[in-house]
Each structure stands twice: as structure tokens, then as C-alpha cells.
Amino acid sequence: MPVYIKEGVFEPFKEVQQYQQQLEADIGKGRYGASTVFVGSMRDFNEEHDVSAMTLEYYPGMTESALEAISNEAKQKWPVLDTLIVHRVGDILPNDSIVLVAVWSAHRAAAYDANRYIMEALKSRAPFWKKETTVKGGKWVEKNTLA
């Protein structure tokens, strides 16, 4: 159930593929039947202003433990074999991946439900803060998108 905070650009689907190879080596092949991946990435538009870049601040220590707690909650609520969370921090450009959530399960309903649960919990509880750079200067994002 690892959680990674990354300062630099990451390739979400490469991360998933590499992690999954390790997972198969650890638990054996053919153990899961369903995996879900969510990737949130930076768009180049948000509300009224064009956003040219973004900075993501976090709370070292608390952010990781919040994400670990969320992963464990998902594992208690659904029959999940494993999860992976990667979240970017620092300076981010449009089209960069910001967050990756992956879930492996024997069944697809659990894989979908747990993935979405983790994302919603992350959005509402994990200490990250976005500051957008627009033509008008820096602007803290005040409210998270509900969906």
C-alpha cells in the first residue's frame, strides 16, 4: 500500500506497470482480476483564468500518513489486494500528472469503489495546497473541485 510524494515529473502508467511487476513478484501471478487507475493531471484552464503553471505545497510527514490512513481505510472497506498512491508536489506545468491512484482486487466492483473512495478522501483530507500561476500572478486555489 505504498504512498509516494514526488518532486519531479512522473509517468503514471510507467509507475503502475513497474509497481505491478513488483507486486506480481511478491504475491504471485494471477492473484488479481481487476485493477483500476485514476490519473489527475493539470489542465491549462481553470475557471476564468488561463493557468500557465502551478505550485503544490504539502505537509511533509502528515501528508504521507494521511494517504496511508486513506489506503488502509479502503483496504478495510473492500477486498483490496494492494494500492498505490503517487502525488506530485512542487512546480507543475500543464499536462503534468498530479496524482495517481491504483487499486488491485479480485473483483471489479471493489477496484472501482476503492479507487474512487481513495481519490475523494485524498481531495478532502490530504494536506496539499495548489497555487496557480496566471497572467494576473499567483493565486491560491481556495476550494477543491467536487468532481
Binding site: Y58, Y59, M62, P127, F128, W129, K143
Partner: protein, 77 residues
């Protein structure tokens, strides 16, 4: 008695302070820690509080060596 206080994001910028130490105080609530450090009577609306990296309310009593953090609503993901 020493309390470590942290500020993040917009609060950090507005207060121009990311970290502070509060010495020789005892029995303070999180709100009183905020008042002592910032000189402001109330927390800005929607401010979140974490004590030892777990969410807490403003009337929680702070102990020696605790880490208290104040920050705006989270916007990750």
C-alpha cells in the same frame, strides 16, 4: 515546555511565517497558541488545525513537544 507551530500555504504567506516555537507555556488550547503566535483573536474562516499531524479542533489542549499546524482547506489531487 516547547511547542512547535507550523503554517502552510496562504496562511504561511499571509503571516510571513512557516514555523515558530512557543516556549514556557502550559495548558493552552490550539486557538490560544494561534492567538499568542499571530496576535490575531480568531482563526480565519475554514482554517484547519492539525496536532501531531492529525486533524484536531481549536479547543484541543496542547502538550509539551506537540506540533501544531494551521492551514487553509486542502486542494490536492
Amino acid at each position: 515546555m516547547s511547542i512547535s507551530v507550523k503554517f502552510f500555504a496562504r496562511l504561511r504567506e499571509e503571516l510571513n511565517m512557516d514555523e515558530a516555537q512557543l516556549e514556557h507555556v502550559t495548558g493552552l488550547t490550539a486557538l490560544q497558541v494561534w492567538q499568542k503566535i499571530t496576535g490575531q483573536p480568531a482563526l480565519p474562516p475554514k482554517t484547519l488545525i492539525a496536532v501531531n499531524q492529525e486533524y484536531a479542533s481549536e479547543d484541543i489542549v496542547i502538550n509539551d513537544n506537540d506540533e501544531v499546524a494551521f492551514f487553509p482547506p486542502v486542494t490536492g489531487g
